[in-house]
Amino acid sequence: MRTADFRTPEIGLDSTAHEARLKRLWETSPGIKGFFTTVDHKEIGKRYIVTAFAFLALGGIEALVMRLQLAGPDLTLLTPEQYNELFSMHGVSMIFLYASPILSGFSNYLWPLLLGSRDMAFPRLNALSYWIYLASGLFLYAGFFTGNGPNDGWFNYVPYALRDFNPGMNQDFYALGIVLLGISTTVGAANFIVTVFRTRAPGMSLNRLPIMVWGTLTASVANLLVIPSVSLAFFLLWLDRQFATQFFDPNAGGQPLLWQHLFWIFGHPWVYAIVLPAMGMVSDGLPVFCRRPLVGYSLVALSTVATMLLGFGVWVHHMFATGLPSLGLSFFSGASIAIVVPSAVAVFAWLATIWLGRPVITTAFLFFSSMILLFVIGGVSGFMTASVPVDWQLTDTYFVVAHIHYVLIGINVFPVLGATYFWFPKMTGRMLDERLGRWNFWLTFIGFNLAFLPMHLTGLFGMPRRVYTYAPDMGWDTLNLITTIGSFVLGLGILLFIVNVMKSLRTGERAGANPWGASTLEWATSSPPPPFNFAVIPTVASRHPLWEDQLGEESAKSSIDRGMLLASGKETIGTSPLDAAPDMILEMPEDSITPFLLALGTTILFVGMLLKTWGVVAAGGALATLALIAWLWPRQALREREPAHG
């Protein structure tokens, strides 16, 4: 019998000696070794965020080059080939390499802090997820910078993506890059799901979760269900291209529409996966600046889940013009209209929260509150495309381009910028500059709307998407020039954001533990948090542990300073899925090089597949296998092995 299983955690107060002991246990070693071996969720989260912003910047530069080409009719800055690779890489960068990873970054950084835990459930898996994400981003950009980037849009329809029409390596880079990225997303999603159900602070029952956790949880479940579809689609594409299978080739009985179904069964839920966590940021951040709890917590949490459920039944609205029978289309049309309802719940909850609160106008508040309007504009234009006969006109025109940018910039970028202003003090210990912040906000807001509001008209006046140029007699010249000007103003806004981050990192005002007077657990620990997050594991008695004194609504009080000490090893507490009752001590793994080596091996394997050089495939596979063996080797410290007797 292993006595350790029945150890009862010691309850006590924080002390300097206790913190010093925890620090020794949890701290990542400095320098190059620590860089490659760390499994600290905060380190990984920050890397995710920085990397995702870098891809945002690259995707933004690609967009600005395209806007120069489209500033007037018949311009020849870019060849059609260059333009096609630019718009494809822009979409791939923003959707795959920015929008989802940035949310993973914030969730990685914040979850254990929000949940009152010391790390994610699987810290090494977390590191693996980051390294593979980075590798797939570099893989895709290696293609782009050698002139072999994706060139068929992010949606990548066949047969144009097949070898007959696309003989270069572009599609092989894209197909394998996305399969590689899928590994990262999948293990990341699994980690989030287990984390939320296993490592919450005692007392944090499901109805006390921050909405952002609901958002990321919902998105993660969706990812687990839909990533296999897109990975399969791209893998079959690669087989069709390289091994003459015929899944998609109509000349051999393959089905081009199969691609579209596999892609959009993934693609549409994915859209919700990259907005729901961001909507959660608003639901959690906005009330702090309104100085009142969120209106309708339960309804907002339920609507998050409802959006995702309905989100699985709307993918065909990307395929209204493909000749499917009207009866089938009407079902998807109805579902696409119905999905407005749960979204409306969130909008009215936010509006009521501001109306009934006392809004303090900060940069974070401006980003969060303006997002509501952008969300509504992106929502109603989506509602328009849900109507099949109307969509037969709207689809594949610039109207849809305007729509997706209101959705993705409005509901992802704006909340993320707001979240950065909100949580930057927690991550770095310094406040972002508010004066620069105002400039940042207004330039971004004005530039964005100047670029994309008139674009709805460009669409209604008939400009098709994905064109490298247009004729002067179509009536689109002025509108396109306005969009180009707006996009550069928007770019300037984002540039100011980067400047603000750089400046504030060095000279920003010091932030205390809780500079905004916010309510959730991450604000209970110091800024930046220590490697072990919490010296004692807090016990939670309400949805707003740090506002209990002011609200005075609960009879029980959360306990922040006194709780489980858990300092006899790298430990945190495991709790039950629904009520978060403590049920076992979790031994957490030490820093390890194996995630990096596994990612490296996998990447080498994919490079080998790309080059069809089987020796490289074997070498990568061998490295990955060895790394896995080392990773999974049972260790006594994690109680994966019996202690030696005698």
Partner: protein
Amino acid sequence: MNAFPLGYLDAAGRRAATVLPLTWAVIVISVLVSLVIAIVLWRAVTRGRLNGGAVETRSVPITRTGNGIRWIGIGLVISAVPLLVTLVWTMITLAHASGPPQDSALTLDVTPRQWWWEVRYPGNSPDEAFATANEIHIPTGVPVLVRLHGGDVIHSFWVPKLTGKTDAIPGQTNLSWMQADAPGRYRGQCTEFCGFQHARMGFEVVAQPRDEFDRWRAQQLKGASPAQSEGAQRGLQLVEYRCGLCHQVRGTSAGARSAPDLTHLMSRRTIAAGTLLNNSGNLAGWIQDPQGVKPGSLMPNQYLSARELNDVLAYLETLQ
């Protein structure tokens, strides 16, 4: 043509007109909703706001005031009305606009290819059938059935003033239909990304009164008239020898079908899939340097001598 040849806020035929009121309705609903939310948001922010520059956020006390749930309830009830109306209206419109009508008076076979439109007019016997390209003639006032065939990659058939989009997908035949109420030229465009020259893959629909259409059809059925002048005869030889590798001129030995049928080239208003007006200057430029006009186009540059070019033009201009 009006100021926006591809705009869809006006319609010129039955199918597009059926959808137009619904399009306007959802636009009006959307604009109204956005305005109302903008006003409520503005009021919500400004009525009790505190300046974050002057006031520390954390110094403002937390209070739970007002019944916010009522907001959500009222909001949802109000939202449900336009949603339900739109849902029902959508289904009714879909029933009217979808499906080819039983009474179609003409059937066309359209095969979009990288980056032009092959248009076939089937007949009761082979000598009543003919092919043309990039310009579709239809009689006014009757529904026309369009069978869309997949040629190479996916394209999409769209004539905004007459009909919404239907994709042409290899391996299947999709149906679209259109009807023009008044004579005129209506612009069409490929709207599914299909490669380098997706941008310049336009066409025109020419709606004509029935008798005019019948005359046009009779003319198209004829083969090319024999070359008269000496230059045109030399031009014909070049056309048969070179252009005939891809193009067809019925009545000559140029018989390939992988590029636009040239039999009545000069009867068309534009060349290069709606890209250039069809005049001898543009025609000469296009023949010599298609890669300059449409980079990536499947037609190679021709490098004809000045004399050869003149001969070819002399012949092509006889193809009325």
